[in-house]
Symmetry: C2
Subunit: 381 residues, 2 copies
């Protein structure tokens, strides 16, 4: 392995793309005649097929959860802190799978993919997909990989919603469900933030009703605003205070519209590095999947009733300073699981990092998560 890769990394990894020929019926009524999913795997599937884990990604993330794609990579996968040999999700013991969700912009079929009948990018003709649709497609991927039952399905944020959906849709195909910093539905405030992000993208003159690919442009202004706004909700007020406070960029205020404060520079930097690396139509789709997720919708708000089919055991974790999906949201999930006499471990982790804490190396978080993973490991035969 090249020198710069630490020994506890899965190292160099190569994504795989699988083309599905079987049509996929979507929640919105449309059908995808064929589609592709790009995914990565780390570790080896054992002969009994009992050590497979599925990691579900969050809004702006992808299939590249761990390791490096090449020697020029500046950064490893998005969950490198958690996934690797000897780490919390230990690739010495588990076969770990992570795929880019349908509608994504990292290789799975999505708005930027060529429409099979026109050869042009789908753009706004790509249907809005739901968490349920993602889980259906992930189950197809499990079939391809020869995984009948996941040892665990694991995810944070929007990923955690997929875990909940897995446990409802395929109760016999996962033994454990690990739901981190998630919610069983968005609040009005959550939806409101998503709507502002969408309006920023859709009102950008470069959006061209979603057909910007054909105009050789993209709604960069809108995507920048969406990303800046997202970042505010991923961090807590406290951690922003700790990281930036009212620190000035040049020691004094400028009485102009350059960035006066460090926090302004930070947001501008985050926005700049997002555009060019993420597709605006995918951003729109992902926020809609979030808004629409509401497993208790069909049971008129009765989450316990919605959870009736579930059989798996659960680890639910939340973070005290997460105001996007606060611990209260996790407690609602835990309560509804308990109402079904399910086996649930719940940990409310004290952390100042806000929603993004699920990506961080926080000792208490790693302890709880690691202990649970160790328990799963011991069940594997």
């Amino acid at each position: 392995m090249p020198d710069f890769i630490p020994p506890d990394s899965v190292g160099l990894v190569t994504p795989t793309t699988h083309h599905f020929q079987k049509p996929l019926q979507l929640s919105g009524g449309e059908t995808l005649s064929d589609y592709a999913l790009v995914y990565e795997t780390y570790g080896e599937l054992n002969t009994s097929g009992s050590n497979a884990l599925l990691i579900c990604h969050a809004l702006s993330s992808n299939h590249h959860a761990a390791g490096y794609h090449g020697l020029a990579d500046k950064k490893p996968g998005w969950w490198e802190n958690i996934v690797g040999p000897g780490k919390t999700i230990d690739t010495n013991h588990f076969f770990v799978v992570c795929c880019n969700n349908l509608g994504g912009c990292f290789g799975s079929t999505g708005p930027s993919t060529a429409h099979p009948s026109t050869g042009k990018p789908y753009g706004p003709d790509f249907p809005i997909v739901t968490v349920h649709d993602w889980v259906t497609s992930q189950a197809q991927l499990a079939n391809v990989l020869g995984v009948d039952t996941w040892a665990a399905v694991i995810g944070g944020s929007l990923g955690g919603m997929q875990v909940l959906q897995w446990s409802m849709d395929y109760p016999d195909r996962l033994r454990h469900a690990i739901v981190i910093a998630a919610s069983s539905k968005l609040t009005a405030q959550n939806i409101a933030f998503n709507e502002v992000a969408r309006q920023a993208i859709r009102s950008d003159p470069d959006f061209h009703d979603g057909r910007y690919y054909e105009h050789d442009t993209e709604p960069q202004r809108g995507l920048r605003i969406a990303r800046m706004l997202g970042h505010i909700t991923y961090l807590s007020d406290d951690i922003m205070g700790e990281k930036f406070g009212r620190d000035l960029r040049d020691g004094k205020i400028g009485f102009d519209y350059n960035a006066d404060f460090q926090v302004e520079s930070y947001l501008r930097y985050q926005a700049d590095s997002f555009v060019g690396n993420f597709d605006a139509n995918t951003y729109l789709l992902m926020t809609k999947a979030l808004d629409y997720f509401d497993p208790a919708g069909p049971t008129h708000g009765d989450l316990a009733k919605a959870f009736a089919p579930i059989k798996s055991r659960f680890l639910v974790m939340s973070f005290t300073s997460d105001w996007r999906f606060s611990p209260e949201r996790s407690r609602e999930i835990v309560k509804a699981l308990h109402d079904n006499d399910l086996n649930v471990s719940y940990a409310e982790i004290k952390a100042s990092h806000g929603h993004d804490a699920f990506l961080m190396k926080i000792p208490q978080y790693l302890d709880v998560f690691g202990a649970y993973m160790h328990r799963i490991e011991q069940e594997i035969n």
Copy 2:
């Protein structure tokens, strides 16, 4: 008085504009050679001049605090709930003044005003003004009105910051300071939200570097985003949940980008009614005044030291669900005032309405506020 005007309203009111010829030196180093302030007054100044109150307005507000401008008015002034004959701020006893701040867009000199030397709107050449500059200009207005000492200076949010500044800059010119839902400085998160709003406006192609007046357009897209975002921070998560929850607009989700949820319609409506009624350059200025406000800056963060010149008595009020300027921010102000042995009443009002609570008829709020106003009333001779 016309029939549609309730008896506890100040009724039909007419704004007055005063043109100041004396140059105003601004905090940023520039000087305004002349400027105008538009203001309204309600009630009568008594012969001793002891019953004058100054109301300072918040970010997007103006001099029209109470009453109606004409028979066609759909809505009264922004603080009609509080200001009027027999109301909390009782115009039967007080002479109430409210002016549109410098840099505003409702008649006071601001970016949309013609520059005296070019005849074209100032646009981006209008200097960034600070809370201190506003207070200086308001003191000039007090001179014009023959008010030597205010019985009280009163304001919510950014208005409360002006009250603090008044008490520091002119300790002998106010007897009482009423600071509602305010903060002695913005947090990194507050600044971050302002920065996203500014970026939305400034990146709108119709912004034209702030010279949009000359292009006969305005950055409506950006201003809409700024307003939607503002609204989220003015309301609490709880009140948004109570008002909208996950209620759908048409009973079902549409799998498209029309407004699915009531909260989306609400935000779009708020944004639509804001554009055309507010100037984008003024919005930028107001957010900068907020960001820059930091009376403890010169005393290296020691707010008690910054408050040393203050002589007035204080009523400070905050609202439990206000996450824009949380009760913690008010408690910091109260502590620093107490450290100076000042007379301070503090009330943390239980209310689910968020930051906007200061505009509402909340019984506990009106009780505390009214009792304090009654006390001031009794001092008047």
